[in-house]
């Protein structure tokens, strides 16, 4: 049994330790918001947070997160701590209508949340560089960038 926190809930998983966290989330825990894209940490569709750091769950053995706190897109809103249904990034994503097919967007959101965690007021270059490893095949990049800017502004405004 491997124990860890997922979206603030204690879970215990009976699986080989080298099973990628991605499949544990999707098929053991029914959290299918996290997506399988490339399987080799090149597209970012599977991005989650492990102890607040963005990680590619497709190459993260579940044993390595024992005792850690994992956050998926399903738990993102709660991390804002304001009791709202949507994280400021999710609200911004809707505001600018960022998703097209949407498949990469959970990963984009989790990557963006990690970016704002480290760089609360990112420049355009900070956003581009911070998000470069997350592929959007529909190429909704213009709006993703815009949404991150918008969320940063609303978060920063909220703190003032």
């Amino acid at each position: 049994m491997i124990s860890f926190l997922v979206n603030n809930v204690d879970v215990q998983v009976d699986a080989p330790g080298d099973t990628p966290l991605l499949w544990i989330l999707r098929d053991w825990l029914n959290l299918t918001g996290t997506k399988f894209g490339c399987g080799v940490a090149q597209c970012g569709a599977c991005t989650v947070h492990v102890d607040d750091q963005a990680r590619r769950s497709c190459v993260t053995p579940v044993a390595s997160v024992a005792g850690s706190a994992v956050t998926t897109v399903e738990g993102l809103a709660a991390t804002a701590g304001d009791g709202r249904e949507l994280h400021p990034l999710q609200a911004a994503w809707i505001e600018v209508q960022a998703p097209q097919c949407g498949y990469c967007q959970s990963g984009q959101l989790m990557q963006a949340a990690a970016l704002l965690g480290e760089t609360p007021d990112p420049s355009d270059d900070d956003i581009r560089n911070g998000m470069a490893a997350n592929l959007c095949r529909c190429m909704a990049y213009v709006r993703i960038q815009k949404a991150i800017k918008l969320a940063a502004q609303s978060q920063n405004g909220g703190r003032k």
Binding site: P16, R26, Q42, Q97, A98, Q100, C101, M139
Partner: protein, 754 residues
């Protein structure tokens, strides 16, 4: 003049007749029956929506949602004529049922093809509700109006919900009634050309949207394919899963014995979880008998080069006059050869399908763009009647044409049959890429003759490529315009440009070396993605050769003569609308100041009218680039596109499609390609196959010319003018031209003679 009279209409008509033979009825098109279903659920004036007793308007969407927000766009069309309250409108993506008729999502057709049908359906509902509402209000019909899901008479109103729940709306419509309805004048529109939030977006930001890969059913097991060394000609001699059997959770290996011949030499590894199935697939030792094609990229391109020079090959897509005579007699001939390398779909949701049997009915859950072609294939593979097979509908994690012909459902269904339990087959990314249906390599030769003033006297375009339609639905190949042989219009569309030309011939040639090796597919922008690259590069070369400003030269050729003058309702204005987007893009991009750009920078122009002459979206693009002459690296600084797509059913969705498609065009121009080696693509994953990332995105400047004409396509047309605009900008910057895609730095250095 002889043209292949197989355009989109022919294609769909054929689909319709094929569909009748297989038990499908074309949606709402049969003569005789009345539409107007009054049931306990509510009122349904046609198939396309129903109004329930609580006033909800459920719009039945048969097109796949793969990023276009298509449900929103189609529901806006219904809502417009129905005079609905938008808040009451819901989008329902329906499963396969013969009553929906042909189900296909491709060709950028969805809005265009549905517009008239859905408009009339909406109007029929409004008429029926107005009549019933007037009766209930005791008011003269002529004094009542429908607005926001109410019938109003002066200050009094009755809601659609009350009318429907009272059971007093009973009006039925014949096909002739529907045709006779006069649609609202554009001045009365309240929905079209106006924005609304897309209905699919909220579920796509919180993880609740359901894609093919997300579905679960009880008792389901997981599988990964074990693929043969090439697409065709493989059979299994022996196999051994001894190593796999040591994996806890491994269940078995299924030999895919496929009566349709789709899977040639496939196995499927089955396990309790996908990671175990994935590992097992790598551990299964297989020996094959192989006699399939295993050509390299160079061999496919060499064959293409040979074919375009061989006068006996090819079917005629369009011919007018006797261009070859003019070419033979010409003092000066301008000739160019343009090539493109193989490109891959790389839709981010890896191929997958879940199949299971429930009583006598088989179910499939998988992303799907063309249910009407895949469902009969899967039924044949399973040996069942099509009536016993249902495809559930889910969102697609990217379609881009790869999920039109969903041959990957066959091994999932056969594995489920063999296992006697539900099987979810998921391809590893490398599996998906190996058996992609790529855009094949292409070789095109263009020859033209002009008079002293630059008018096109003769024009000859020969294009050698894979023909997706030949592999997927060969019965839909069109007869050549001269009666000899066939043409895949989806391999040559876009070649029929709108420049006035005294005589011309356009031919499509099927590259058999491609077909022996890969299953060439439809890839976003399809043929115009390479034909327009050739046409717009060639026209640019001509302009420079004649010493003309490429913009002014194009303008001079856009005289809208003959068939270039357009046709109603789909192509009103023809080349005049292309000239209008051209004028506007020149203004926006600052074309007149281009000579003042610093060394190494240049502007290039290209026009596009994808996806086809019968449904042109008029686009003009100016690219501004910087070329680092020492490395050959190209930086695209700005892309300016002006688009006329007629009425926009969902303007913000239209803009999103153009944003994405312009970047897709940039990706195909500079970033994406693979080369076949021994029958497979060399680049199997996103470590070496490198689409545009956020760091590569230039400034995008987009404008729609707004009007009330028939809506046309938007998913793909934005792609096609980008590559030639960039190529032409590179020429403007350095005075050298690269005539093959993608344009890599080494090709630029070679062109500069470095």
């Amino acid at each position: 003049m002889s043209a292949v009279d197989v355009t989109r209409r022919w294609f769909l008509a054929s689909l319709g007749s094929a569909a009748v033979a297989t038990g499908f009825l074309p949606g709402g098109a049969q003569a005789g029956p009345l539409f107007g279903d009054v049931s306990s659920r509510g009122y349904s004036p046609t198939l396309w929506y129903e109004i329930s007793g609580d006033g909800r308007i459920l719009v039945h969407v048969t097109r796949a949602e793969m990023g276009q927000h298509i449900g929103t766009a189609l529901a806006r069309i219904v809502a417009e004529e129905l005079e609905a309250n938008w808040d009451h409108v819901e989008v329902v993506h329906v499963d396969t049922d013969p009553r929906w008729g042909v189900m296909i999502t491709g060709g950028s057709w969805s809005v265009h093809k549905s517009f008239d049908q859905l408009s009339r359906a909406g109007a029929a509902g409004r008429i029926a509700l107005l009549e019933a509402g007037a009766r209930m209000l005791g008011a003269p019909l002529k004094d009542c109006v429908a607005r926001a899901s109410e019938v109003r008479h002066g200050a009094r109103a009755i809601s659609y919900a009350d009318i429907v729940s009272s059971g007093s709306v009973t009006r039925q419509f014949t096909e002739e009634d529907l045709k006779a309805i006069a649609l609202k004048p554009a001045s009365e529109r309240r929905f079209l050309n106006r924005d609304a939030a897309a209905r699919d977006v909220p579920s796509k930001v919180n993880g609740t949207a359901v894609y093919g890969i997300d579905r679960k059913v009880d008792g389901m097991v997981f599988a990964r394919p074990v693929l043969p060394p090439t697409r065709y000609g493989n059979s299994i001699v022996s196999w051994d899963d001894g190593a796999a059997r040591k994996l806890p959770g491994y269940l078995s290996t299924v030999v895919i014995d496929d009566p349709t011949g789709t899977c040639q030499g496939w196995l499927v590894a089955v396990a309790e979880s996908w990671p175990v199935a994935a590992k097992a697939a790598d551990l299964i030792a297989v020996s094959y008998r192989s006699d399939g094609g295993a050509a390299s990229e160079d061999q496919m391109l060499a064959e293409g080069a040979r074919l375009v020079e061989n006068p006996t090959t090819g079917g005629i897509f369009f011919q007018e006059g006797a261009p070859l005579m003019r070419i033979a007699e010409a003092d000066a001939l301008h000739e160019g050869v343009y090539r493109t390398h193989t490109v891959l779909h790389m839709h981010l949701e890896a191929l997958n399908a879940l199949a299971w049997q429930d009583g006598s009915t088989w179910h499939v859950h998988a992303g799907n763009q063309w249910q009407s072609v895949t469902l009969p294939l899967v039924a044949e593979a399973l040996g069942i009647d099509q009536a016993d097979l249902v495809f559930e509908t889910s969102y697609l994690g990217g379609g881009f044409g790869r999920r039109l012909y969903c041959e990957y459902i066959v091994p999932a269904a056969l594995a489920a049959k063999k296992m006697g339990r539900p099987v979810k087959l998921i391809f590893a990314r490398s599996d998906d890429t190996k058996f992609d249906q790529p855009r094949s390599p292409t070789v095109q030769r263009l020859r033209s003759v002009t008079d002293g003033r630059g008018a096109l006297l003769a024009y000859d375009h020969r294009c050698a490529s894979g023909w997706p339609t030949r592999s997927i639905v060969p019965e839909f190949l069109a007869p050549s315009a001269d009666g000899h042989g066939t043409v895949d219009v989806f391999a040559i569309n876009g070649a029929g440009h709108l420049y006035d030309t005294a005589s011309q011939r356009i031919q499509a040639i099927c590259n058999d070396v491609v077909h022996a090796t890969m299953l060439p597919g439809y890839l976003r922008s399809v043929a115009p993605g390479y034909t327009t690259w050739a046409v717009e590069t060639h026209i640019d070369e001509l302009a420079h050769k004649l010493g003309r400003d490429p913009a002014e030269y194009r303008r001079a050729l856009l005289g809208a003569k003959g068939r270039n003058g357009g046709a109603a309702p789909h192509a009103v204005g023809g080349a005049n609308r292309l000239r209008a987007v051209l004028e506007r893009v020149l203004e926006k991009a600052g074309w007149s100041a281009r000579e003042a750009l610093p060394p190494g920078k240049g502007m290039g122009l290209a026009l596009g009218t994808g996806q086809e002459r019968d449904m042109p979206t008029w686009i003009a693009t100016v690219a501004q680039v910087f070329v680092d002459v020492s490395s050959g690296a190209v930086t695209v600084e700005r892309l300016t596109s002006v688009v006329d797509a007629g009425t926009l059913a969902h303007p913000d969705g239209a803009l999103a499609q153009v944003e994405g498609s312009m970047l897709w065009g940039l990706s195909l121009a500079l970033f994406e390609s693979t080369e076949y080696e021994k029958g497979l693509p060399r680049d199997l994953n996103l470590d070496t196959y490198t689409p545009v990332r956020m760091t590569d995105v230039p400034e995008l400047d987009i404008e729609f010319l707004r009007n009330d004409h028939m809506p046309v396509g938007l998913g793909e047309p934005g792609v096609i003018s980008i590559a030639p605009a960039i190529g032409n900008a590179i020429f403007a910057a350095i005075g050298d031209r690269v005539c093959h895609l993608p344009i890599r730095p080494e090709a630029i250095r070679a062109a500069m003679g470095a």
